[in-house]
Structure formats: structure tokens, C-alpha cells
Point group: C2
Amino acid sequence: MAPAPRRTPAEEARTLVARNHVAALATLSADGSPWGSLVLYAALGDGTPVLCLSTLAEHGRNVKRDPRASLVMAETDIAGDPLDSGRVTLAGTLEAPEGQALESARAAYEAASPASELYGGFGDFTFYVLRVERVRWVGGYGRMDSTDADAFHAAEPDPVASGAASAIEHLNTDHADALLLMAQKLGGHPDASEATCVRIDRYGMDLQVQTPRGSAETRLGFAEPANRPGDLRAATVELAKRSRAA
Amino acid sequence: MAPAPRRTPAEEARTLVARNHVAALATLSADGSPWGSLVLYAALGDGTPVLCLSTLAEHGRNVKRDPRASLVMAETDIAGDPLDSGRVTLAGTLEAPEGQALESARAAYEAASPASELYGGFGDFTFYVLRVERVRWVGGYGRMDSTDADAFHAAEPDPVASGAASAIEHLNTDHADALLLMAQKLGGHPDASEATCVRIDRYGMDLQVQTPRGSAETRLGFAEPANRPGDLRAATVELAKRSRAA
């Protein structure tokens, strides 16, 4: 049996960027020491983050002096151990766009932060885009990888990510028997006594399985990727049917 | 009438540090550029943050090379505009404690992260404390200030912070009339038509008030600071009584 497909590190990164709008920004203070701050960001169509920084704030002055920066976006709605949840670091250089690129950046930022229609026009604010050079994704304990700017920009955010939390809750609350059968028939754990969905994405889902040999995680791939938010239901129903037929 | 007391920037910072256990860490990569990452932290009794970093992660290698670092802690459970919520940057130097100081750091960290009892003992992990040099607090739009390490360590986290969100909800849901009377009689807005509690702390509360002249914020100070979580109730009841007698 071929291993069930997973999101690539670039897809994981693009999904985290698309799902959040608050990030930590790391810049360089006057003495070269690292300065962390909280920022609101928007993402352009290729995942490029847009910021709007004031020189009244230390990060805004830092960037005027040295444009090197990195952004950390974390999973929203973390349940359980935060170190076992997703986050991504995008490192590169902040650049003030001009002309049409400035208008695109402003439009994306105003859509993410309506209040910026007011403050974005103040003279102390500058719109920036992050020219991404390095991408480091951490999905949790033992789940991490690096990727490059080309792969990051070419990847697509997971279209079902916004519905994942409610799908997981629904599966665990109402379909525990179906999950157990999937773990037994399709997940390689015929002696499983319990199965809980811990992650779901466009390509499949991860089950935490209890067996007489202990606890284990197993991955079940969907027959077809779920390409629209509504596709998760059909994809899991197909898994359930397949497990009953197996 | 004397202005109602507020938490000092040092108290705001200590409260944010005490209320969270996830932070963004900014360190310096090999080429001197800033690197952001997500960390779990614990706080010692004087607010000193404790970290546990692996050299398998870029931030752990960065710190071995250059111990300068900063941490950003944000308000948890942000409702509404994230730029109108609290965050603090602590900048300084990471130091690996030894002897009794190491044991204290380890005990604090293990209390915050039970899983660290396992990984904290691995050879690639080092416990660090942040020697705080600069503190920058931002409470929201127009609410910000800096403070120094001495004031930060001497200050106390707000003892009622953990109950603030539920107190605000209770006041707004069940005591809208009492809040309106407070705004009219004690808040300097006799023509107020509506009042909503937006923040509450050990020293008092902030009301958002609607008047024929527009919307405004007003601060009401408690007769006595609320020094224990249970004191918020008595403090707000005293305000309600005072407004009825005024």
C-alpha cells in the first residue's frame, strides 16, 4: 500500500499564512539585537505577506535602518500542547512597493484590517511586502521541514482548512465507530480498540489509535483530494464505505 | 476628582507574562538577520522568563552563537481588532543558569510544560533565563509605554486578570443598567444613553459610553484595589452603590 499523501511543507506554510492575520515580526534594533513585535498582516495571492508599519513604533524604525525581517505565523485555536501545533517562519527582506504593487498591497491590507483605511494613510505609516527567502515549517513534535521561496509561492493554501476543526469534532462525536473501522481495516491496526481523528486536510486524515500494543498514529488518504470546503464530507464518507467493504 | 488609577506599564507587562505561556522568540541567525520562532515559556517569581531550547532548532543554535534575544507575549483570547489588544516585548540576553538557579528554572518550566520532563533531559536541550534589559508594552491603540527591568521585576501581575473576561461578560449581560448609571453619575457623562465595560482590572474599569455627542471611553476607579480574584465582585458592587447614592 502506497503511503497516504500529505500536504507538502510549502502547502503547510501557505495554509498557516492564509489562516491567520496576526504574526510576530522579528527586526533588528539599532545595536543589531533582535526585536520582536506583534503585527497584523495580509497575504497577496502568491502568499507574500503585506505589513503596514509606523516609524512611531520601534519595528518601523528598525526596518527603515535594516530591512531584514522574519515573520512567525502560528495555528489559530490551539488546543492542547502548543508545541504540538503548527507554525511557520518566513525570513527575508521587507520592501516598500511602489505604483501598482503599492495599490495591490494596500488593497490586500485594507481587506484584512478595515481600520487601516484610516491609519494607513498617515505619514508615519509605510506599506511593506516581505520578499521571502527562507521558509521553516513546524507542524508539531517530529513534524517539520524547510522549503524555499519558489515552492512557497507556487503552493496553494489547503482549501478545507477552515472547516477542519468542525469536521474533526463532528467525526469524533458522531462517528467514532466509523473511525474505528477505518483504523482496523484501512489503517493497519486490526486490533484497534479506539480511534480519534486528530488532523484532517485535503489529502486525508490522521487517526490516534489505541491498541493492546499501545497508542499509535496512522494516516488515511482520501481517494481524491478534497479541493473545495464542501468536499471533506464526501471524502470521509468514501473512506467509511471502503472500510466497510474491506 | 483625581484621575482613576490604572495599572503601570510594568504591571501590564507582568500581567501579560503571567497570563500566557506561548511567546514569539526573536534571535539572530548566522548572518545577523532576525529569526522569529514560537516557544513555550515559564515565568519565575520575579517575571523572568524561562525557555528550553534545542540546538536541533535554528533558535537554539542562534542563541549559542549570540545570546541576544527578545520575547513577545500577547493577550490570549483576543476579541475584535488584534491591534487594539495587549502585547509586550521583553528584550535582553539569554543566559544558561547553573546550580540552584538551573533547578528553579527547570521546576518552573516543567510546571508550565509537563511534556518537558521528557524532552528537557535530552542532550540537545538547554534551559535559559532571559535577563531582561528593555520592556515595551502596547495595550492597544494609543495605550503604550516603556519600562525598565527593575520596575518590571518589582511589579506584580494583576491578581484579577484571570477573571476579567467573565466579569466583563457578566456586567454587560446582566448589569447594563448599573453600568449606565455609573457612566452617568461617576463617569462624567450625565447624558450617556448606553455603557459597556471594555476592560476591568484590579484598580477599576473602562466603560465605552454612547452619548448624543458621540462615543467616548471613561475610567471608573474602585474604592479599594481588588487584591484577590474574588474581590472584583465587591469592588463593582461598591461602584454601583456609589452611583445610586450620587
